[in-house]
């Protein structure tokens, strides 16, 4: 179950776990996988999502209010792994819930649940020494963000610390939908390639990717597209019983 993007462009689907509820998140993730998503990013809801725009903030707030915890998200991961042995599975979290569980405990639990990788929004490479050691000890892929503002020296460190893929942020800003894929994105990926290519690590582009046209644009220069706020926004306005089918159709249409 290594993370792979065999069919280009790869599709990474971000979901805020527990919105509208954990069972629906699981069904939505299964529908996304069955309709072509290569990797599911299970977002751990957090009370203070400072890198997120209004859509994911609201989803997070709803899930936190329902009492969804990191341990619940790992349980969803376990169920997804059991149901779809070959899918890519990434736990996506702010740092504090992980620190609260303990880095060692968390990495062991994520591996036991069957996750392939972890992305911590507010963990940067310079601070990651022991995090990386625990990840490695548990056979998990640490995925780091790369930003248009990151100078080449940082991109090098990010590419060298990451496994699975590097998540390139398409523009300077927080998560949320946008009209066009920013010019920042292709330049960033071009700079990043110099460091990922020797290691054979793919690059996924995210932030603001919300339709088939965006995915086509990303496919021109990157290996995969991350769809986040667009899915979370669709889930927000769809009846829970209909959300899995709606998300499945949406994902199926992204490579059209």
């Amino acid at each position: 179950m290594p993370i792979e993007f065999k069919k280009k462009p790869g599709i990474v689907a971000y979901l805020t776990a527990g919105d509208p509820d954990l069972a629906t998140t699981r069904e939505i993730a299964l529908a996304a996988i069955d309709n072509g998503a290569n990797v599911i990013e299970l977002g751990v809801p957090f009370s203070d999502p400072l890198a997120d725009g209004p859509v994911i903030q609201r989803a997070s707030q709803r899930a936190v209010a329902r009492g969804v915890r990191l341990t619940d998200v790992l349980e969803v991961a376990r169920q997804l792994r059991a149901a779809r042995p070959a899918c890519g599975l990434v736990v996506f979290s702010y740092l504090n819930p992980v620190v609260r569980m303990g880095m060692k405990n968390f990495c062991a639990a994520a591996a036991a649940a069957g996750a392939d990788g972890v992305l911590l929004t507010d963990m940067i490479v310079e601070e990651a020494g022991e995090y990386l050691a625990e990840m490695k000890a548990n056979g998990l892929a640490p995925i780091f963000l790369a930003a248009p503002t990151s100078p080449d020296a940082r991109l090098k460190a990010i590419a060298e610390a990451s496994e699975g893929f590097v998540y390139a942020i398409s523009r300077v800003g927080i998560t949320g939908t946008q009209q066009n894929v920013a010019g920042d994105a292709s330049q960033l990926v071009a700079r990043l390639r110099a460091f990922t290519e020797p290691r054979g690590i793919p690059i996924a582009v995210g932030f603001g990717i919300s339709n088939a046209e965006h995915v086509r644009a990303v496919a021109e220069f990157a290996d995969a597209a991350v769809i986040g706020s667009a899915l979370v926004a669709m889930i927000e306005i769809t009846k829970p019983s209909q959300a899995p089918a709606a998300i499945g159709r949406f994902i199926a249409g992204l490579r059209a």
Partner: protein
């Protein structure tokens, strides 16, 4: 989950020795987009700090524009009434704009100007940092956007008017608990989005490196002056120094130059709020009440949180102390026991406000009143030869609405 599990944030001794670390605390835990900006800031600050011309201009403005040095005042009547130590007040309330916050806002504003940034953003709780930032922006002709929680805009409305009068745009933050923490989240989102041309003047000794060090250094002037003043006035150092602790900037500012004076007790006072249950206070160092080490808004420090690592709601009658985390240097001083941390309740702070007003004719900010409350508790147990120094971090005009209601000033019963 036990406290020890929470201390498992991976910090090796090599990391702990790095710049921006206070023991295991501090660091830089931010979205990648901000890292280059923090590095640029770190370098620009180091260059400014090493430049005598920067310090000369800062000192000149602190003196002629802000009114430094602030007096160290012997509160004779209050000392006599309490029957113990001599109580001295470091009068940051007399500073331009009415609180210590201008020491830092001015320093960072000069740094922003030096870096060529013309757009300034800041968060504010009590509104004092917002007013100080708006003031500095007016002085330097810079654009100013202040983020403030909806709840704080309501309870510190006078400061909202002051900021607007000074030409700042005040943006209302209606997410989360609608207080300081949420204002910082929103300011950080703005910074992530506009990082290329925007300078974020963080208002306390919080956040990612280099902020806690830089803000402390800009506030150090409080303790530097106070140490010289007490030596001049009393010929000896104080027995104890008492300061309120929100993010921790006025406290670290007065503590810092006394850290090496091992016989001087350093006492930080947190907001005890209305009770000990999580959500009813902002006493981060009360472990039994939910304060354990964690990461919030860029730094590793004590954080009020639930068992799953969600940040807890807080409560205090004072908007400036109503925050779930605390500056990382205080976390280190707490663990090393160099400083002691205690709390004063809403009721104690309100009582201290009227006590100081009536015995000394000084109206403290509700934040500062927490420090006064602690001094009032301590004084009767001390000897007449002891000296208590209290940092009076700000004046209370901004709180008149709350005071009128809580102390029933409309009914003239007090």
């Amino acid at each position: 989950m036990s406290v020890s599990a929470s201390s498992e944030l991976p910090v090796s001794s090599a990391v702990a020795a790095r710049a921006g670390r206070f023991g295991v605390y501090g660091g830089r835990y931010v979205p990648e987009t901000l890292v280059a900006a923090l590095e640029e800031l770190e370098q620009a600050y180091a260059a400014a700090d090493a430049d005598p011309a920067f310090h000369a201009e800062l000192d000149d403005l602190l003196h002629h524009y802000c009114g430094r040095p602030t007096p160290l005042y012997f509160a004779k009547r209050m000392s006599e009434q309490l029957g113990g130590a001599k109580i001295y007040l470091k009068r940051e309330d007399l500073l331009h704009t009415g609180a210590h916050k201008i020491n830092n806002a001015l320093g960072q504003g000069m740094l922003a100007r030096r870096m060529g940034k013309r757009r300034i953003i800041a968060e504010t709780g009590a509104g004092q940092h917002g007013v100080a930032t708006a003031t500095v922006c007016a002085l330097f002709g810079m654009q100013c956007v202040i983020y403030m929680g909806e709840e704080d805009m309501r309870r510190q409305e006078l400061n909202v008017f002051r900021m607007r009068l000074l030409g700042a745009e005040v943006r209302c933050v209606s997410t989360g608990s609608k207080t300081l923490k949420d204002a910082i989240n929103e300011a950080m989102r703005d910074w992530v989005t506009n990082v290329r041309d925007t300078y974020y003047i963080l208002g306390s000794a919080l956040g990612a490196h280099p902020y806690p060090t830089m803000v402390r250094n800009f506030q150090r002037v409080i303790g530097r002056e106070a140490r010289a003043q007490i030596l001049e006035q009393e010929g000896r150092l104080p027995t104890a120094i008492v300061a309120c602790v929100g993010g921790g900037s006025n406290a670290i500012g007065i503590f810092y130059d006394f850290l090496g004076d091992k016989d001087v007790r350093l006492i930080g006072v947190e907001a005890g709020g209305r009770g000990t249950a999580l959500g009813d206070h902002a006493a981060r160092f009360q472990k039994e009440n939910g304060g354990v080490p964690g990461v919030l808004q860029g730094t590793f420090s004590y954080v009020l949180q639930d068992e799953a690592g969600q940040i807890a709601a807080t409560h205090s009658v004072s908007a400036g102390l109503d925050y779930a985390s605390v500056g990382p240097e205080h976390a280190m001083l707490h663990d090393s026991c160099r400083a002691e941390y205690t709390s004063a309740s809403d009721a104690e702070a309100l009582a201290a406000t009227s006590a100081l007003a009536r015995t000394e004719g000084i109206l403290p900010a509700l934040e500062s009143a927490h420090a006064i409350a602690e001094a009032m508790k301590m004084a009767p147990k001390t000897a007449k030869t002891d000296i208590l120094m209290v940092n009076l971090s700000g004046r209370g005009d901004k709180d008149m609405g709350i005071l009128a209601r809580e102390l029933d000033l409309k009914g003239a019963k007090v």
